[in-house]
């Protein structure tokens, strides 16, 4: 409301300013040539000065004077020919009306279409001072703190898993390295670091990652995540028997109904064993199956990204048929963003928001994700 009052006063002020000359008594003017004559008289003086300084000869000065004199006469002639035509209008009703209408009408019509009157200004400092639950802001705040205090290990430790979840892999890599350097190794940090490396390398457990996972297991044999990747490393190295043993041990040590059970079973089967763990929750929609991951290992990068695209497409198709799956939407949006396709990510976001409106809990999760991974959400006003 305040905004509209300010805009109205603004418009009124400009209007008042612009109609002022139309309110004054007007008269008709003709080109009297006085301004031109002033220039020519100045040119005459210039000739006198040049003559005085000996820059031109007396004869040339005479010619030049004559030429300028002719110009002066021509100006006077032209001025005499035009006489004032009639009287000036006493009032400029039409012009005044045009000014009074043009400003508010143009201003309002355009502003209502283009502007976002509902949005307040949002300087970053003020938002950082009061970030609320906005994850992206909290991350930004932590980043600024770390830019000033790059040796604050706890800060890096906090940020690293968040970076990983939002697929900012190079940042996650850096953050885990810093946290490990400053705070020392811990099973969680090592496993997280290893996982970042695996994600960076399209699912391949590299040598550096394997070392990290093995150290994590050495520190804490109960770290299932690290153990899974150690086993996966064996499998990818082609040591099927050892891999099967490791996966079987993992299955035995897992609590019943563990989320990873079915994945582990697949790997056991793949390495020639019988399923052991109690399968529980069905595999998460859109996650690559163990076969997919294994197949990806031998592929060229182009084929691999083709495969990933295929998986995303099939997820998108599934969601089209059955949109009532919030986890699926979240995964789809994130996948597109990871693939670097911001347009599709934001399309998926909009599609997801159709099923789960922004005012419900699932819708809020979608928006939170968008904010977290930096997909712009067009304002409702636009």
């Amino acid at each position: 409301m305040v905004l509209w009052i300010v805009l109205a006063c603004f418009t009124a002020g400009v209007t008042a300013l612009l109609i002022a000359p139309l309110m004054k008594a007007s008269h008709l003017t003709v080109a009297d040539g006085e301004d031109e004559a002033a220039v020519y008289r100045d040119q005459l003086r210039e000739i006198d000065r040049d003559l005085g300084q000996g820059l031109i000869g007396a004869e040339d000065a005479g010619y030049a004077r004559a030429e300028i004199g002719r110009r002066l006469l021509a100006v006077a002639d032209a001025a005499a020919k035009v006489a004032p035509a009639g009287r000036a209008p006493a009032r400029h009703r039409l012009a005044t009306a045009f000014v009074i209408l043009c400003l508010p009408v143009t201003g309002l019509c355009l502003y209502v279409t283009l502007g976002s009157p509902g949005l307040p200004s949002q300087p970053l400092e003020a938002r950082l001072a009061n970030p609320g639950n906005d994850m992206a802001l909290l991350v930004a705040k932590a980043e600024r703190h770390l830019a000033q205090n790059p040796n604050d290990g706890a800060g890096w430790d906090l940020l690293a898993p968040i970076y990983f979840r939002t697929m900012r892999l190079p940042d996650a890599d850096q953050a885990y390295r810093n946290a490990i350097r400053l705070l020392g190794e811990s099973p969680q940090r090592l496993a997280g670091f290893g996982e970042t490396l695996v994600a960076t390398n399209d699912g391949i457990v590299t040598e550096e990652a394997r070392v990290a996972f093995e150290r994590a297991v050495a520190l804490d044999a109960g770290n299932m995540r690290a153990r899974f990747y150690v086993a996966l490393a064996l499998e990818q190295a082609g040591r099927a028997a050892e891999a099967r043993g490791a996966f079987e041990a993992l299955a035995r040590d897992s609590p019943p109904g563990a989320a990873w059970a079915s994945l582990v079973n697949e790997h056991i089967a793949k390495n020639g064993g019988a399923p052991l763990a109690t399968a529980a929750a069905p595999q998460m929609l859109g996650n690559p199956s163990a076969e997919d991951v294994a197949a990806a290992k031998d592929m060229s990068p182009a084929d691999r990204s083709q495969m990933i695209k295929g998986m995303i497409d099939s997820l998108a198709a599934k969601l089209k048929d059955d949109p009532n799956n919030i986890e699926g939407w979240l995964r789809l949006v994130r996948s597109y963003q990871v693939m670097g396709d911001a347009t599709k990510a934001s399309e998926a976001l909009q599609a997801g928001l159709k099923t789960f409106p922004a005012d419900g809990e699932p819708g809020r999760r979608l928006l939170a994700l968008a904010r977290e991974i930096g997909i712009p959400v067009e304002g409702a006003t636009q």
């Binding site: 905004l3 003017t29 021509a74 355009l110 200004s121 949002q122 938002r127 904010r371």
Partner: protein, 662 residues
């Protein structure tokens, strides 16, 4: 809320521009003073609205308000404040805002300083300015609106293009725009005169300060852009005949021609039609430059975002204004009376030669710039017209022009005495040859042509001094009297002498650098030594460093001459964290007017790194000359005669100073 008010101010500016583009021209037609008085008022209001809107945008950048799409796309909260502010115009939308701000600034200046203009001419000029403003406001509001919002706002921006994170961004675009857009005033004067159907010598006097101001700023803007590209891009060159450079160079050439033809028109009322045509062409070339750079037709650091709708919009603006002006010209020009006559050998003749060559060279550059684009559009074939074409065609055209420069001021108006002028010049030419050869021997080496090129540079410098020398009559009169006369010379005489001298200095720099430059590309390991320009550089190794929003590897070099350490220099490769984009920061050491330029290439596997070392003798003369030209422009601008009509300035201090001497 302030952001929305800023957006509204821009919308209101459009309404004001509409009023200013309709009512005053009607007033001028009828001779109605009330409607004409509206023009300066609306123009100044328009400037205030745009300036307010621009400052709101700047504020949003300064406080990192990422709820603006434009700020989010082109800024980062950790950038130093100076880049946050210059980042306002480091992108398409913001740079169009700067264009608009400059345009309305010039309109406001005409409104304020145009008191000596006839009422109708002033109203018409301001109207044409308002038309241009309307076109660009529509363009900004509908295709390039910097006030589009994001909700919810992201927490961090996407950073400014690292190449643009440099102090050059604070200087180059504003100066260039002051030049580019300044020529809009000349265009408006031309169109206004055509609308009135009346044009005379006084018109040339009125338009002169605006041409001069625009030309001066454009000179500075181009020189600054060239220097920036030289030190930032790390290629070691200072001019690439890149289409974007040509886009700014063409208005400069046409503007230089305009500056000279307007002189003839002012003095002799000749070349009227030609001058009007040049005024239209110069701004048309500015618009063409804007189109080439902003439409995405060309790929360069200047083409921020490519969006076909923008290109089409600018093309429409271009066609409307250029086409409209030419139609008006074709209709009105035959009705204009031609002016004074002159002999081929005269000041006018020399200026016609100047115009002829400058126009042909503009056409050459235009052809070389557009031909590849046209060919690609028509046949899909990609060719590039590069330096060899331009150097040969443009270079050959420039030689007669440069030779003719000192003659111009020495020849009399109407009919000149070539023999007399030659007599004055041959001393200069001899001195220049001697200086050229002396310079050449000092540098030792290079083809003989270089000595002639250097002589040409000196010839321009001495030639411009000769003009002042003869005008003051130093040779014939006693020194005291001659000096008094020298002081009494009009400022514009000093201005043109300085501008011509600056041209000579630039020519010297160009010839010296092209001829005596040395380039070494080598792979260096710490402790290794390289020689360039009589200096030896020892590579001390690489070191990591962290900046506010980048990390860098800095290479340190110790520079010594004859065994004594004289300086040290850092050259680095940076990675800007937000965009993960690398840039090179060349290390540049200045010795007098020469520079040592060190740029880092790719690291080798064995711990070495590729290093490029250039020795650039006298390179600063290239830009120093432009600075001298610019000073010449300002000196000329301060000439009393350009203020004719302002009654308080009618005093004649020059004459008073003269009397005791005579």
């Amino acid at each position: 809320m302030i952001i929305e008010i800023g957006h509204y101010a821009l919308v209101l500016a459009l309404a004001t521009a509409l009023i200013a583009s309709i009512l005053p021209v009607i007033g001028a037609r009828r001779g109605d003073t009330a409607l004409m008085d509206l023009a300066p008022l609306a123009t100044i209001t328009l400037f205030c609205l745009v300036a307010f809107s621009f400052s709101v945008l700047t504020w949003a950048y300064a406080v990192s308000d990422f709820s603006l799409l434009n700020v989010w796309e082109n800024s980062h909260s950790l950038m130093p404040m100076v880049y946050k502010i210059t980042g306002v115009w480091g992108n398409h939308e913001g740079s169009m805002m700067l264009w608009l701000l400059t345009l309305t600034l010039f309109s406001a200046l005409v409104a304020i300083f145009g008191r000596n203009l006839p009422d109708t001419l002033k109203a018409n000029v301001l109207t044409v300015q308002a038309w241009i403003t309307v076109a660009f406001l529509l363009f900004i509001l509908f295709t390039s609106n910097p006030f589009m919002r994001l909700d919810p706002a992201p927490a961090e921006g996407q950073d400014l293009n690292p190449v643009l994170q440099d102090f050059g961004l604070a200087i180059h675009p504003p100066l260039l725009y002051l030049g580019y857009v300044g020529f809009s005033v000349c265009f408006s004067f031309a169109v206004a005169a055509l609308i009135e159907g009346r044009i005379d010598a006084a018109w040339a006097r009125w338009v002169r300060p605006w041409t001069l101001a625009a030309w001066t700023f454009l000179t500075a803007g181009i020189a600054m852009g060239s220097y920036w590209a030289y030190y930032e891009l790390g290629w070691g060159g200072w001019w690439f005949w890149d289409p974007v450079e040509n886009a700014s160079f063409m208005p400069w050439l046409a503007g230089t021609a305009l500056l000279h033809s307007a002189l003839v028109m002012e003095k002799r009322e000749a070349l009227k039609i030609w001058t009007v045509l040049l005024a239209i062409m110069t701004f048309s070339l500015s618009l063409l430059g804007t189109f080439l750079v902003r439409s995405g037709v060309l790929t360069s650091v200047h083409a921020f975002a490519t969006d076909p709708s923008r290109g089409i919009f600018i093309l429409a603006i271009l066609s409307f204004f250029i086409g409209g002006a030419f139609v008006l010209f074709a209709w009105r020009a035959p009705q204009l009376k031609s002016g004074g006559l002159f002999a081929p050998i005269s000041r006018e003749g020399a200026l016609v030669l100047n115009n002829l060559i400058l126009t042909v060279s503009t056409a050459t550059v235009l052809t070389g710039t557009l031909y590849p684009l046209v060919l690609e559009t028509l046949t899909g074939e990609k060719i590039s017209v590069g330096a060899p074409f331009f150097n040969l065609s443009f270079g050959l055209l420039m030689i007669p022009l440069l030779l003719a420069v000192p003659f111009g001021p020495l020849l009399a108006w109407k009919r000149g005495d070539l023999l007399g002028a030659l007599q004055r010049i041959y001393v200069v030419a001899g001195m220049a040859l001697v200086a050229g050869f002396a310079f050449f021997y000092a540098q030792n080496g290079g083809p003989v042509l270089a000595a002639l090129g250097l002589a040409l540079g000196f010839y321009l410098i001495f030639g411009s001094l000769t003009d002042l020398w003869y005008r003051a009559n130093f040779g014939k009169l006693a020194f005291k009297i001659a000096f008094a006369r020298f002081k009494g010379l009009p400022r514009s005489a000093f201005g043109s002498a300085l501008a011509h001298m600056g041209l000579g200095v630039t020519v010297l720099g160009i010839v010296a650098v092209t001829t005596f430059e040395t380039e070494h590309v080598l792979e260096m390991k710490p402790g290794m030594r390289a020689e360039a320009g009589g200096y030896s550089l020892v590579f001390d190794g690489l070191r990591e460093a962290i900046g506010p929003n980048f990390t860098e590897e800095r290479g340190h070099f110790t520079v010594s001459r004859n065994g004594a350490v004289v300086a040290d220099v850092w050259s680095s490769k940076r990675i800007y964290t937000a965009r993960r984009m690398p840039t090179t920061e060349a290390g540049i050491l200045t010795f007098g007017a020469s520079q040592l330029y060190v740029s880092l290439g790719d690291p080798m596997t064995d711990g070495g790194i590729v290093v490029r070392i250039w020795w650039k003798p006298w390179i600063l003369f290239i830009w120093g000359g432009a600075v001298v030209m610019m000073i010449g422009g300002f000196v000329s601008l301060s000439d009393r005669r350009l203020r004719v009509g302002a009654p308080s300035r009618r005093a004649k201090p020059v004459k008073l100073a003269m009397e005791p001497a005579e």
